[in-house]
């Protein structure tokens, strides 16, 4: 009995340490974003501030056009996430339900395209898009993000479809639905948690993408949030409270989306893309 109590205490301490290690950086960046300038570079370092200041945030929205970056990012990330999720829904359904000769080849194709990282092909993409005169237009990165999203979302969607029993659709078919009707009336509603997980996951990935956006977008009115941060860092003499405010703003949507959809995203990842 005593041994068990000691184990409980050790376990509690270790869990607390992991938690501290995970959240301390977040705490520190939030604290920094609210510190007044005169407390930023003082000794001893302050672990709390009694004079919270919005200076960092004000400066961010007044001198760096962060509002514009933010709305660009929302626009790009949401639209691309929707496009890739719809594509993934259609193709994931087929890959989960149908047997056909080149099914394995399609899956392998998706798998390998998922492995090509965005930064490796951003130059050829840039050259390709400049032929269409789409450089410095948000549409170009929407297309790129949709393509990258479609690859992994399809694999995730297939995993979710695999868990919905086929018999439900078969019953609908017997009742006189055609395949498309049974997909949209029966299966898709059951898939909603899965689809929202895929959508959220794509959104977070799009929101975080840096290198393609830096390459493709070159005027400040087109910047996304990561490109905005990148440009702030490139400027010499940036104050850490302003930059921290920018980082906090950049984190907000991902943390909100992640905390809402966490459960489903995780089950999608563990069941879909990596299956034992």
């Amino acid at each position: 009995m005593k041994k068990k109590t000691i184990w409980q205490i050790v376990r509690f301490i270790l869990l607390a340490l992991f938690l501290l290690f995970a959240i301390f950086p977040l705490y520190w960046i939030i604290l920094t974003s609210f510190k007044p300038v005169y407390e930023l570079y003082t000794f001893p370092i302050k672990y709390w501030t009694n004079n919270p200041s919005l200076y960092g945030y004000r400066k961010l929205f007044e001198f760096v056009n962060f509002k514009q970056y933010f709305s660009n990012s929302i626009f790009v990330s949401l639209i691309a996430a929707f496009i890739s999720t719809i594509f993934a829904m259609l193709s994931g359904y087929i890959l989960s339900r149908k047997e056909f000769k080149w099914r394995y080849i399609v899956i392998l194709y998706l798998f390998f395209s998922q492995m090509i990282p965005s930064y490796l092909i951003m130059v050829p993409q840039y050259i390709m898009f400049s032929k269409f005169h789409l450089i410095n237009k948000l549409i170009s990165i929407i297309i790129v993000y949709s393509g990258f999203g479609a690859a992994f979302s399809t694999i995730m969607a297939k995993g979710f479809f695999d868990r919905i029993p086929k018999s439900i659709e078969e019953a609908a078919l017997i009742d006189g639905c055609n395949e498309i009707q049974s997909l949209f009336k029966i299966t898709v509603p059951l898939m909603l948690p899965g689809l929202s997980a895929i959508l959220s996951f794509s959104f977070v990935n799009n929101w975080n993408e840096l290198f393609t956006a830096v390459m493709f977008l070159n005027t400040a009115d087109k910047y996304t949030v990561p490109v905005g941060l990148y440009s702030i860092v490139s400027k010499a003499g940036i104050q850490w409270n302003v930059l921290s405010a920018g980082i906090v703003i950049a984190l907000l949507p991902t943390i909100i989306v992640f905390s809402i959809a966490q459960k489903y995203i995780i089950s999608g990842l563990t069941q879909g893309s990596l299956k034992d």
């Binding site: 520190w28 359904y93 087929i94 490796l120 050829p124 050259i127 479609a150 840096l210 390459m215 991902t254």
Partner: protein, 291 residues
């Protein structure tokens, strides 16, 4: 016949989009690597054969970059695995507020690598960084470290941050696998009088081995291809001490504006990845890797 049309119609949008966004640029990237396309050369782009590759491999620092990449992959994945495993084991038994706890310990995984790099470069700042302050206060060190400007510490620092970033992913994967182990296995072992570590090594680890193999091997690809954290912290510096293959490639684009040479870097990375993936598929049987 109608069935076939249906299948093709449903798959076509995805296949076309991926071909356009990923396959075609990959092929044209390979072709680009044999040309001399750079910002100084737009007018007279021509075929130069293996010139870019020769240049890359004759760079005396290239071996350092390869070595940095190996260090980066090995230590990052090793510690991500160890700590992720421990975290998953700790979280296996239900406790009050586990869902909320998971949200807090897993969130780093949802943040952009670049932002994480920025956050930690502030925490590890040599003059005003809180990490130095904590280490000084607990008497662990006598003088502050220059984590990011000292070449001998920079690689250690970026790996530390990457470990922080990667623990949740391993923990998520391993936790999911742990929860699929039937309790009856443990009950039987307990009747035989097995202790915690016996159960760990005789039941838990063998049972989740497929997940471990898959996760480790996929993570190696991901970590190799992950310039974001380094880019937020050091951009490969100081003195190239944190320059890994992917960072080198991006620097070739952003600073040298030598697009063909960057493409050659990319082709080398993809080649390594393809060879590695073939090995991966051979190592893990198709049964374990069910597509």
């Amino acid at each position: 016949m109608k069935q076939r049309k249906f299948i093709i119609l449903m798959l076509l949008p995805t296949i076309l989009l991926i071909s356009f966004i990923i396959l075609y640029p990959t092929i044209s990237g390979v072709l680009l690597s044999f040309k001399n396309y750079s910002i100084f050369n737009f007018g007279k782009v021509k075929w130069v054969g293996f010139e870019n590759y020769k240049e890359i491999f004759s760079d005396v620092f290239y071996i350092d970059i390869v070595w940095n990449t190996i260090k980066w992959i090995f230590f990052s994945v090793f510690f991500q695995l160890i700590f992720g495993f421990i975290l998953a084991l700790l979280m296996k038994e239900p406790f009050k507020g586990r869902g909320l706890y998971a949200g807090f310990v897993f969130y780093p995984w949802a943040i952009s690598g670049f932002a994480i790099g920025l956050i930690w470069s502030w925490l590890l700042n040599g003059q005003f960084g809180v990490i130095n302050d904590i280490l000084l206060r607990i008497g662990f060190i006598k003088e502050g470290f220059n984590f990011l400007s000292d070449p001998s510490l920079a690689m250690f620092s970026v790996i530390l941050v990457n470990v922080w970033y990667g623990i949740p992913f391993f923990a998520i994967m391993i936790l999911a696998a742990l929860q699929s182990i039937p309790d009856s296995l443990y009950e039987a072992a307990e009747i035989d009088g097995a202790g915690y570590f016996t159960k760990l090594f005789k039941i838990t680890i063998p049972y989740i081995k497929p997940t471990l193999i898959n996760t480790i091997l996929l993570r190696i690809i991901w970590v190799m291809n992950f310039p974001d954290v380094i880019y937020g912290m050091t951009r490969g510096g100081p003195a190239g001490s944190t320059e890994i293959l992917s960072v080198k490639m991006i620097n070739t684009v952003f600073y040298e504006s030598n697009y063909s040479k960057a493409a050659a870097h990319g082709v080398i990375i993809v080649t390594v990845l393809v060879l590695y993936t073939i090995m991966y598929l051979k190592l893990t049987s198709k049964k374990e890797f069910s597509l």
